[in-house]
């Protein structure tokens, strides 16, 4: 058996478990349909002064409502229900008999749970965007990817916490409930932060929220957030990168904790 073979065996087994026919097909169908149905150019038709970069941002973020929620459901199912279920049933314990380090087993599980879902989501959405508005997307692919990176941050943050909770609880169903509650709590906190920022005329709540959800700072940068926060905070582009970097550093920290716990602390 080659060095990479046991890893590929675990990865293939994880993919087989996570995406039984026709789960992937149903999600691909929903992503494609959702992308076109929710695509919107926003207020760009009213004001011709809006830059093409803002149009690219508005169009991309318009797609990230329900399709992103569907993506999160898939990730939650894979991490909480799939990985948690594997821990509960002792499937992970059987992987430990492979000549593989623990962190590689977790990597294979996460590649299947998050990586495949992410690749499917991004490839479908970016291709659909290109079909819909090639002259908006091609010149501003960087903006499109930046918008995705900003919007994925909060989902990956919740996924990181969910991984830790799954490892601690080792139960699929309960972890799934925790994940859903956490996700909706994040949405509520985000709305509350906007209201507080407006009420106190302070940008601090928005800045705090941007640490976990950098899509807030990005929307302020492009000044297209029609909500209360509009005009309250005009961040520079360097600030957008700073908040996004901080956010992804926190996510990396959460996943590092997950790896550490799985490799060193988890008694199986």
């Amino acid at each position: 058996m080659g060095k990479g073979k046991p890893f590929l065996e675990v990865l293939a087994s994880a993919i087989h478990e996570d995406y039984r026919f026709p789960i992937l097909e149903i999600f691909a169908f929903l992503y494609t349909l959702g992308t076109f149905v929710f695509a919107s150019f926003g207020s760009s038709i009213v004001t011709s002064t809006v830059t093409n970069e803002s149009v690219a941002y508005t169009l991309t973020s318009s797609l990230l409502g329900l399709p992103l929620f569907i993506f999160i459901i898939l990730i939650f199912k894979n991490i909480a229900y799939g990985f948690g279920g594997d821990l509960e049933k002792g499937i992970i314990q059987s992987y430990l008999s492979y000549p593989l380090k623990r962190w590689k087993i977790l990597t294979a599980k996460l590649l299947s749970a998050i990586g495949i879902a992410l690749i499917l989501f991004l490839s479908i959405q970016i291709s659909a965007l290109y079909v819909l508005a090639p002259d908006v997307i091609s010149p501003y692919l960087g903006t499109v990817l930046l918008t995705y990176a900003a919007n994925f941050s909060s989902s990956l943050f919740v996924a990181g916490i969910l991984l830790l909770v799954t490892l601690v609880l080792r139960r699929g169903g309960l972890t799934l409930v925790v994940g859903i509650v956490l996700y909706f709590s994040m949405s509520i906190i985000s709305s509350v932060a906007l209201v507080v920022a407006f009420a106190t005329d302070s940008q601090l709540p928005l800045q705090i929220m941007s640490v976990i959800a950098p899509n807030v700072v990005l929307s302020q940068y492009y000044s297209v957030s029609v909500g209360f926060g509009n005009g309250l905070w005009t961040p520079a582009f360097s600030e957008v990168f700073l908040f996004m970097g901080t956010s992804y550093a926190i996510i990396a920290g959460l996943f590092f904790l997950g790896y550490y716990y799985f490799s060193r602390r988890l008694g199986l």
Binding site: A12, Y19, F21, P22, L24, E25, I26, A28, F29, L30, T32, L33, F36, V37, A39, S40, F41, S44, I45, V46, S48, V50, N52, V55, L120, I124, V131, L132, A133, P134, D135, V136
Partner: protein, 193 residues
């Protein structure tokens, strides 16, 4: 069963499901947001701008033009104000317009020539843009024109998405076939045992 057959097969089923979603999108009919129409006569060597809109790729102009003579019909991706500024004149001359468009071909969103007949076309932009319908009469006689312009709204360009759906479903089926064949064979083998 060989893994690469399963891998290709699942890729194929994903493509088929994506194709079916695209097909569904292409079948959603467009809505008409407004119509403008009438009859006009374009003077010789003259340019007559008619309709100016800011359009997104989810909107289009359904254009129907009937002319008794030779007439160039353009959809220019520029506002009327900018067009007048560029031509540095309050009146638009057919020769000047031709020169302008030769120098800036990117301004032309769509162009066709009507010669004693009717043309129909749906113009859908690929970016957020100004779209100005312009009639240009290169001949030395008045050309009477009947026209109708309807602004349509749809979630995606129907023909483009429909064609894409056809290709995606076809490629998907090709990829799925070996997987289905293998499954059918193994099922027959199991039954015969």
């Amino acid at each position: 069963m060989k893994r690469w057959i399963i891998f290709l097969g699942r890729g194929g089923t994903i493509l088929v499901s994506v194709g079916l979603a695209l097909l569904l999108v292409s079948l959603i009919p467009s809505a008409q947001l407004g119509t403008q129409g009438g009859t006009t006569a374009v003077p010789p060597k003259w340019v007559q701008p008619l309709n100016e809109q800011i359009l997104t790729p989810q909107q289009g102009l359904q254009i129907t033009v009937t002319a008794n003579g030779t007439l160039d019909v353009y959809v220019l991706e520029v506002s009327l104000q900018v067009l007048y500024q560029v031509m540095e004149d309050d009146f638009l001359n057919a020769t000047d317009l031709e020169k302008l468009l030769d120098a800036n071909p990117s301004l032309i969103g769509w162009h066709d020539e009507v010669d004693n007949g009717t043309i129909e076309h749906e113009y859908v932009p690929t970016k957020v843009t100004n779209a100005t319908l312009v009639f240009s009469n290169p001949s030395s006689e008045y050309v009477p024109v009947d026209f109708e312009v309807a602004i349509t709204s749809r979630i995606a360009p129907g023909t483009k998405v429909g064609n894409l759906a056809f290709w995606v479903i076809s490629i998907g089926f090709v990829l799925v076939l070996p997987w289905f064949a293998q499954m059918w064979k193994s099922r027959r083998r199991r039954k015969s045992l």
